[in-house]
Each structure stands twice: as structure tokens, then as C-alpha cells.
């Protein structure tokens, strides 16, 4: 058995007696789990006729007249889900990067005194940065604190009222971008502020302007360090595309729901839909773990030790921020 961190904290290396006890209790609990699954999952399903071919036929039996039609539709739905997810990820990354740059710039401008300018102009510029700072901060807090459901709903309802008639795809993408762009901006920003101050100081000593420093020195490193968190955010985006059903986007879940109206097999079809989501997202999460391992191994990319607890928690938090 592989020993991970939790093992090392909680248990000593087991001796022969402990190993024996562990084995016995394992076998007993395995039997208990199987019996429990039979009693509480299999039996209720069986008793309510959930294993009949009438329910499963269209999904698993190629001879069934509805088989082809169902899977063609599910395929279309899955493609729509992927399209929405990819577009939303791209736009969120763009918006997130821009917003992170703006916020870091404003942060660094806040300390600037504008010595060369007339006092009034300097005052005005300082007031302007302070206002912009407050505005961006406010936007970040608001859009991070709002449920994506609400954002998508109001984008889908609101934009047509203002005469912006797009395909529903774009409402989903815009709704997802508003939320995830802000989240990605915060990920990148915490990556940049978490870097050792020596990085920015060295860049300034070489004569780079603040913007060049951010663009050439801080941002690339922030991307590297925060890559696992960014990939986790992609999982979130992919899951959230399923909210498209609110405004009638024809994604995987919506297609499945339409099919269920006809076939009357919610348990079976939602089970299949769940499996599809799990396989894609599980692959993505594994990729995130793999990238994290590689980064940890890589020589140059070791995250700054000074913020290690913060960054760790931030990454965890991002994994948790989901719909």
C-alpha cells in the first residue's frame, strides 16, 4: 500500500499484528459495503424496474430503433458543450489576464508620487488611480460573489432586451466569462504578488518599466506557478456549461433532458451523462496533478517558499470554487 502524507501523520508503520487486524477488518468492511450496495442501491433499482431493456435499450442496444438517433443527438450535445467550454476558457483567459495586469499596474501606481508633474496634476492622477483601484476591486468582489446561475440567466435575458441578439452559445460564453475571467484574474494576481520581491526589484534595476516588469517577468512566472489552478478552473468551466439549459442552450445535459421527456428513463440517461462528464473532467484533473508534479520537480519553477501556505490554500480554494 502506498503511504501518503496522511498516513505518515496518522499511523506508524504497521507491525505484523496490526497488519493482520487491518486485513480482517478490511475483508469485513468490504463485505459490508457489498451487502449495503446490494440492499440500498441494487434492490430499490431492481424493485422499481430500472434494469429493464425498456429503460436501457435506447442507450446500450444498437438494434434498438432509437439507439442511433439518441447517440447522434448526445454527440451533438457533447460537441456543443465542448465548444462552449473551449470558447469560455479562451475568453476567460484573455479577460483574466487583462484584468490581472490592470490590477497589478494599479497596485504599483498607487505608491507613485508623480514628482515631475505639477502638484494639481499629480493629485488628480493619484485620485484617478485610487478610484480605478476601488472600481476594479468592487467588480472583482461582486462578480466573484455572484452565482454563475444568476449571471448566465441575466445575460441570456438582458442582452436581447438591449438589442444584442446573439446565438444562445454566446450568452453562455459571456455568462461564464464574466465569472471565470474574474476568478482567473485573481489566480494570476495572487501568483504575481506571491513571487519573491527580488524578481520585480531585479527587473527595475535592469531599467524595465513597471509594465514591462509585469509583462515580461511576473506574468510568465505566474502562469507557470498557477498552471494547476488554471487547469482546475477549466474543469469548473466545463461543469458550468451545463447551466446553459437555463437559457435553452443545446448542450449535453439539455439534449439528455429532452430525450428523457420521450424515453422516460431519467436514472439511466443522467447516469450516462454523468459518466461522460466524469471521464472528461477526471482526465483534466489528472492533467492538473501531473503538471503540478512536474512543476514541483522542475528546478526553476519551484513556487516561492514565502507564500507556500497561501498559494497552497489558494489552489485548494480554486478547486473548491465550483458549481
Amino acid at each position: 500500500m502506498k503511504r501518503d502524507a496522511a498516513d505518515a501523520v496518522l499511523y506508524d508503520a504497521p507491525g505484523p499484528r496490526t497488519r493482520r487486524i487491518t486485513l480482517i477488518v478490511s475483508v469485513v468492511s468490504a463485505v459490508a459495503i457489498v451487502v449495503g450496495a446490494y440492499l440500498f442501491i441494487y434492490l430499490p433499482l431492481e424493485r422499481n424496474g430500472q434494469f429493464t431493456m425498456k429503460k436501457w435499450g435506447p442507450i446500450i442496444d444498437p438494434a434498438n430503433p432509437l439507439f442511433d438517433q439518441l447517440w447522434t443527438r448526445l454527440g451533438q450535445g457533447f460537441r456543443n458543450t465542448l465548444i462552449a467550454a473551449v470558447l469560455a476558457i479562451i475568453t476567460s483567459l484573455i479577460i483574466g489576464t487583462v484584468l490581472a495586469l490592470v490590477r497589478v499596474q494599479l497596485q504599483s501606481l498607487r505608491r507613485r508620487r508623480y514628482v515631475g508633474l505639477a502638484p494639481a496634476a499629480a493629485q488628480a492622477l493619484r485620485a484617478l488611480t485610487r478610484v480605478l483601484n476601488a472600481v476594479t476591486r468592487f467588480c472583482v468582489e461582486v462578480f466573484r460573489g455572484l452565482p454563475v446561475v444568476i449571471t448566465i440567466f441575466f445575460v441570456g435575458r438582458g442582452l436581447p432586451e438591449f438589442g444584442l441578439d446573439f446565438d444562445t452559445l454566446w450568452y453562455v460564453v459571456i455568462g461564464l466569462t464574466i465569472y471565470n475571467g474574474v476568478v482567473i484574474a485573481e489566480i494570476l494576481r495572487s501568483g504575481m504578488t506571491g513571487l519573491p520581491t527580488g524578481q520585480a526589484e531585479a527587473a527595475a534595476a535592469m531599467g524595465l518599466s513597471p509594465f514591462q516588469t509585469t509583462r515580461l517577468i511576473l506574468l510568465p512566472q505566474a502562469y507557470r506557478i498557477m498552471l494547476p489552478a488554471l487547469i482546475s478552473q477549466m474543469v469548473v468551466v466545463l461543469k458550468d456549461t451545463s447551466l446553459g439549459f437555463l437559457i435553452g442552450y443545446d448542450d449535453l445535459l439539455n439534449v439528455a433532458s429532452q430525450a428523457i421527456n420521450i424515453l422516460n428513463n431519467p436514472i439511466q440517461l443522467y447516469f450516462v451523462v454523468g459518466l461522460i462528464y466524469i471521464s472528461v473532467n477526471y482526465a483534466l484533473s489528472k492533467l492538473a496533478v501531473y503538471v503540478q508534479r512536474r512543476l514541483a520537480r522542475g528546478r526553476r519553477a519551484t513556487p516561492p517558499t514565502t507564500v507556500a501556505p497561501g498559494t497552497q490554500l489558494e489552489t485548494e480554494a480554486v478547486v473548491g470554487t465550483t458549481t
Binding site: S29, G145, Y277, E316
Partner: protein
């Protein structure tokens, strides 16, 4: 903007229903998450496997699918989740007792879904405790129970509190899905009713609904930031 004042009742009662959902699902998620976390860090392989499967399952499926499954699948099994009609609780949370089962279904979906994230938050807390702590405790002759109770858990709790808070915030936001699964009277249902059925202008309604959610999420988020900052400062 008059809508905000005229329909204050709708917003306030929506807020109250949403708060009930969050409280009940949150308690459920904490219980489920703790049980699953214990399973995942237990030394028994079958329990670990079940715990891991649970977390993988619920972390990778959209809450929408889980809710659909609960809302349409459970009736197929002839269940309307009546076991949630707990005698004392349903006096306080009157919605638990009503005949329409969607409130209960949604709480089940949200609780099970969030439970997986709670488990991961707790486990990350335990993992963050340095093994040297427990080794020192063992070399002092502390038993397993003493070790867990006096050395590991107090520290794990500190490491887990911030991720746990993020999970709760995410759950509050996820509760917005309730309005689309027949949970009448919740904040997101109020939004749907006011705009779709009564045709009120969107922006004031949007502001009202947003305030309702932001009251819950933003202070919690700021509090967590403070805790995290203080902790980072203490660690240095």
C-alpha cells in the same frame, strides 16, 4: 428602482428560503464530508476506495446533473425523501414538511455534492500537518487517540478552515440553482418569477437578487481573506 422597495417582501422571503437551503445542505455536507474524509484517511483499503470513488464522482459531475438526477430519478424509485421530515427540524424549517418534495430533493443533491468538496478540504488539512509532529507525539508515547486528539486535529483544523470556507461560499452560490428545480420561493425562483411571469424590468430585479447573494458571500470571503492573511503572517 421602486421595485426593490415595493417587492421587498419577495426578496426577503427569497433570502430566507435560500438561507434555509444553505443551512440544511451545509450541515448535511459537513456530516457527509467528515464521514467520507474519515473513510479516505482510514487504514482500510475498501473504505478508502469507496471514499475516493465518492469524491471522484461528485467532484467531476456538474451540480446540475446531480440535481436533475435527484429531482427526476428519486421519484422513479417511488421516493419523495420523506425521511427528511424530521420532527423538530421541520417545525423550524417549515419547508421540509411540505408535500412538494423538491426542496428536500435539492437539499439532498446540494448536500451530497458539497460533501465531496468538504471531504477534500478536511483531508487537505490533515495532509498539511507535518509528519514530524505525529512522530514526535508517538515518540513521547502518546496513543493513537491521544495523537489524533491533541496533536493532529487541532492543527489540521487550522489548515482546513480556509478551504472549508471557500467550499461553503461555493455552496451558497450553488444554491442559486434551486429556483430551476421547483424550489418555489427561493431567491433564484423569485428572480425567475419576477422577470418571466410578472415581466418586471431586469436591472432592478438583478440588483435585488445580487444584493441577496452578496450579503451572504462577500463578508464570508473577506473574513476568509483576513484569516488567511493572519495565518500567512504567523507562518513567517
Amino acid at each position: 428602482m421602486g421595485i426593490l422597495i415595493d417587492r421587498f417582501d419577495t426578496f426577503a422571503s427569497g433570502f430566507w428560503v435560500t438561507l434555509q437551503i444553505c443551512f440544511l445542505a451545509g450541515v448535511g455536507a459537513l456530516i457527509i464530508g467528515t464521514v467520507v474524509a474519515v473513510m479516505r484517511i482510514s487504514p482500510l483499503p475498501p473504505l478508502r476506495a469507496v471514499g475516493t470513488a465518492y469524491v471522484t464522482l461528485f467532484r467531476n459531475v456538474p451540480l446540475t446533473v446531480v440535481s436533475f438526477f435527484a429531482a427526476f430519478g428519486l421519484p422513479q424509485l417511488g421516493s419523495s425523501a420523506n425521511f427528511l421530515k424530521v420532527p423538530v427540524l421541520d417545525a423550524i424549517f417549515s419547508r421540509l414538511a411540505i408535500d412538494l418534495p423538491y426542496f428536500r430533493f435539492f437539499i439532498i443533491a446540494l448536500g451530497f455534492y458539497t460533501g465531496a468538496f468538504v471531504c477534500e478540504a478536511l483531508r487537505s488539512g490533515v495532509n498539511a500537518v507535518s509528519p514530524g509532529q505525529a512522530e514526535a507525539a508517538r515518540s513521547l508515547g502518546l496513543t493513537f487517540t491521544q495523537n489524533v486528539r491533541y496533536v493532529v486535529l487541532p492543527q489540521a483544523w487550522k489548515f482546513a478552515i480556509v478551504p472549508l470556507g471557500s467550499v461553503i461560499i461555493a455552496m451558497i452560490k450553488n444554491s442559486a440553482l434551486s429556483g430551476f428545480f421547483g424550489v418555489s420561493g427561493s431567491l433564484s425562483d423569485a428572480m425567475n418569477t419576477l422577470t418571466s411571469q410578472e415581466g418586471l424590468p431586469l436591472i432592478p430585479v438583478f440588483i435585488g437578487i445580487s444584493i441577496g447573494y452578496l450579503i451572504m458571500t462577500v463578508p464570508l470571503g473577506i473574513l476568509l481573506d483576513q484569516v488567511e492573511k493572519r495565518r500567512a503572517g504567523a507562518a513567517r
